[in-house]
Symmetry: C2
Subunit: 373 residues, 2 copies
C-alpha cells in the first residue's frame, strides 16, 4: 500500500447524501438499495438496504444471512435484521417480516410524500410503495451524481487499488515467455491481487495475438508465440474501490504495422487525456480520440466508448462515448481507453485512469506505455 493510504471516510458520504438529497428534497427518510450504494454509505455491502433520516441518523437492514457481517463490517449506523421466522438468534434489533415490511417499519412516522428511494428497480419500488402505503420519490439519479465526485479518502483507496494492479501487471509482464498460456498469466495476476488482501475488480483479460481482437477476450489455453501482441486488462479492489488499467505489448520485435497502430492508439489516448477537466463534455473526449484514429484510417476498428467512471463499481457514471450527455465534474475518476481491434488479426488497447479536477486532470495510473518491453 502507498504510505498515504487512509481509510475511506464513509461518515462524510452520509453527510453529503443527507445535505444534497435528504435536506434539499425535503425528505424525512431516504431508503437506499443496491450493494454499491450501500457500500458507499456504510463501508459494507452486507446490508440489503440503508435508511438515512433527515436528522442524519443511519439504519441498516440485513437478511439473517448477512446480518453478522453487517455488524462486523459496517463503519457506522444502527443495524437491524429482518426475519419472517421466529427461530432466530437473540439479536437486539430484529424486525419481523419480509424485506419490504421491515423497511416500512423502519421508516414509520415519515410523512406522506416525504420518502425517497435510490437504487431500487421499478418493480422493487412498487413493492416498497405498497408496504409504506404511499408514493416514494425515486432519487437514484441524484444519488449517482453524489457518488461521482470522489473525496480525498476515496482517491487514496483508488490509488491503493492502482498500486496493487500495477504490481500485478509488472509481474504478469515479467512472466511472459514463449509457450506460456493466457490462462497462466491471468492466474499470476489473480494470485497477486488476491494474496495482497484485495479483490479482483473483474476477471483479468489476457489475450495473445488474434485473441486481442476481442475487447473482452477470456483467457484460454492459447500459447504465446514470438511476435504476438499481448493485451492485458486488469483491476483490483481495495477497501471497496476499483482500479482498471490496460497495456498492450509486443512479445519480441513489433512489426511496422503494430507500431503504427500502437502509436495511433497512444496518440488518441494522450489527446483525449489532455482534454479532461471539469466542465468538459464526456462526448468531446471520446470524439477527440475518434478523430485521431480516423486520421489514421483506424476509426472503424474503435468499436467501443472511450471510457467510464470508476469507483465502488468498476463501471459507473459517467460514460465517455459518442452518445454521452454527461459533463465531467470535479472528482470524477474515469478511464481513458481507446482501442483498435481487427478480427482474426489482433488488437491494441491502452487504458489509464484519470482524476478530473478544475482546469486539468491528473493521471492515477503510472505504468509505462511501451510497445516493446
Amino acid at each position: 500500500m502507498p504510505a498515504k493510504y487512509t481509510h475511506v471516510d464513509f461518515a462524510d458520504h452520509v453527510k453529503r447524501v443527507v445535505e444534497e438529497i435528504v435536506v434539499k428534497k425535503g425528505l424525512d427518510a431516504l431508503i437506499v438499495a443496491s450493494p454499491p450504494n450501500i457500500f458507499y454509505l456504510v463501508g459494507s455491502d452486507a446490508p440489503s438496504a440503508v435508511v438515512l433520516f433527515s436528522d442524519s441518523s443511519v439504519r441498516t437492514l440485513s437478511s439473517r444471512l448477512e446480518y453478522t457481517r453487517a455488524l462486523d463490517e459496517a463503519r457506522l449506523g444502527e443495524h437491524f435484521v429482518f426475519s419472517k421466522s421466529e427461530d432466530v438468534c437473540e439479536y437486539e434489533n430484529i424486525v419481523k417480516g419480509d424485506f419490504y415490511e421491515a423497511l416500512a417499519s423502519l421508516v414509520k412516522g415519515s410523512r406522506e410524500g416525504r420518502l425517497g428511494a435510490a437504487g431500487f428497480s421499478p418493480e422493487a419500488l412498487r413493492k416498497l410503495e405498497e408496504k409504506v402505503g404511499g408514493g416514494v420519490a425515486d432519487v437514484t439519479a441524484d444519488f449517482k451524481l453524489v457518488r461521482r465526485s470522489k473525496d480525498p479518502s476515496e482517491i487514496a483507496a483508488i490509488r491503493a487499488a492502482v498500486h496493487v494492479a500495477e504490481r500485478a501487471l509488472a509481474k504478469a509482464l515479467g512472466n511472459l515467455e514463449r509457450g506460456v498460456t493466457e490462462a497462466e498469466i491471468a492466474a499470476i495476476i489473480a494470485s497477486e491481487i488476491i494474496k495482497s488482501g484485495a479483490e479482483l475488480a473483474f476477471p483479468p483479460i489476457v489475450a495473445f495475438g488474434e485473441h486481442a481482437a476481442h475487447p473482452h477476450a477470456k483467457p484460454g489455453l492459447r500459447r504465446l508465440k514470438d511476435g504476438d501482441l499481448v493485451k492485458i486488462d486488469l483491476g483490483a479492489r481495495v477497501e471497496g474501490y476499483c482500479s482498471d488499467i490496460t497495456r498492450t505489448v509486443a512479445f519480441g520485435k513489433a512489426g511496422e504495422n503494430e507500431k503504427r497502430v500502437f502509436n495511433a492508439v497512444l496518440r488518441a489516448q494522450e489527446e483525449a487525456l489532455a482534454l479532461l477537466k471539469a466542465g468538459v463534455e464526456a462526448r468531446e473526449a471520446h470524439m477527440r480520440a475518434y478523430e485521431v484514429l480516423k486520421s489514421e484510417g483506424l476509426s472503424k476498428y474503435f468499436n467501443h466508448g472511450l471510457g467510464h467512471g470508476v469507483g465502488v463499481e468498476i463501471h459507473e457514471d459517467p460514460s465517455l462515448n459518442a452518445e454521452s450527455q454527461a459533463k465531467l465534474v470535479h472528482g470524477d475518476v474515469v478511464t481513458v481507453e481507446p482501442g483498435v481491434y481487427v478480427h482474426r488479426v489482433g488488437g491494441v488497447r491502452i487504458e489509464d485512469m484519470a482524476l478530473v479536477l478544475e482546469g486539468r486532470a491528473e493521471l492515477l495510473t503510472s505504468f509505462p506505455k511501451r510497445l516493446e518491453v
Copy 2:
C-alpha cells in the same frame, strides 16, 4: 479434465426451447436476452440477444464491441451486429439502429401476438414492444424451467467443473499452515482454477476462526492459528457450467463443541441429500436439514436456505429453502449446504452438489468430509 468430458450440445438446447416454448405457445419467434440464457442457446455470452424462429433457425444480435467474439465463440446461428454509426468494419450482417430497433428488424414478418421474450426486465420488455409495435409474451419462467433439466453433455461439463474445484480445494488444504492468511489460500485457489483455463464461478471464500461465522466471508489478512476452523467455499466454471463446493476443517485438533456441530451439520446434509429425487418438494429437503439441526438445538444458527440450482449460473432455479414452491425435476443439479454460524465464534458449512434423478439423486462432488485432516 475427466476422460468422459465432451462438449455441451447447444443445438439440443435450441431444439428443446423451440419444442417446449416456441411451438407449444404458437410463437413465430422468441427473443432471448440475459447472458446465461444466451449462453445456454449458442455457447457464448457475447451476443446481446438470440432470436429463435419457429422453423428452428437461430439469429444472434451483438453490439460492435462483442460481435467478433460472438462470431468466434458461438456454436450455431447466423450472426448480426447492430450499429447506429456508419463507421463500421465491412461486416456482412449489419443492422442499422439501436438494440431494440435491430431486434424489431430481425423479427419483421412475425405476426401480431406471435412474439415471445425471455430474460428481459419489465422496462426492457416495454421498449421492445414499442419497437416491434405490439404485445410480446413474457415466457421467462418457461425458459427457466427448460434450463433446469440438465442433459448429459451439461452434466459432463459440470463434472469437469467439479473436478477443477476439487483439485483446487485439495491444494488449498495442503497449504494450510500456521500463520498463512485467508487471502493467501484464496489466491492459491484462484490461481489453480484460472491456470487450468477455467473461470472462477465466484470469488473463493476462505474464512478462519471467527470469520467463518459469516456465510459470505471475504478472505482477508487474518492468519491461521492452531485450533481454528477453516471454511472454504469455491467453484469453477468449465465451458460455461459451474461447480460449487464447501468444506470445513479444523486446523489441528478439533474441540468437542466443534465436533458436535460438525457432526450435526453433516447429518443434516446427509438426511437432506437422501431425500432428493424427482417429484420431491424442494422445501421438504430444506426442512429435513432444519429439523436435524433443531434436534441438536442449532437451528437458529442455520440462517440461510439449504441450497440452490447450479448450471450456467452459480445460483439458478430451483431454490431449496423454507419458502420454496418448487418441486424437484429429473435433471436438476442442486447444492445441499446446511450451515451453523455463531457470531464471533465460528461456523461450519458442508456443501455438495447432487444430480436429481427419478427415485434417487447422484452426488456430483466426491471430496472427503472430515473435520480433522
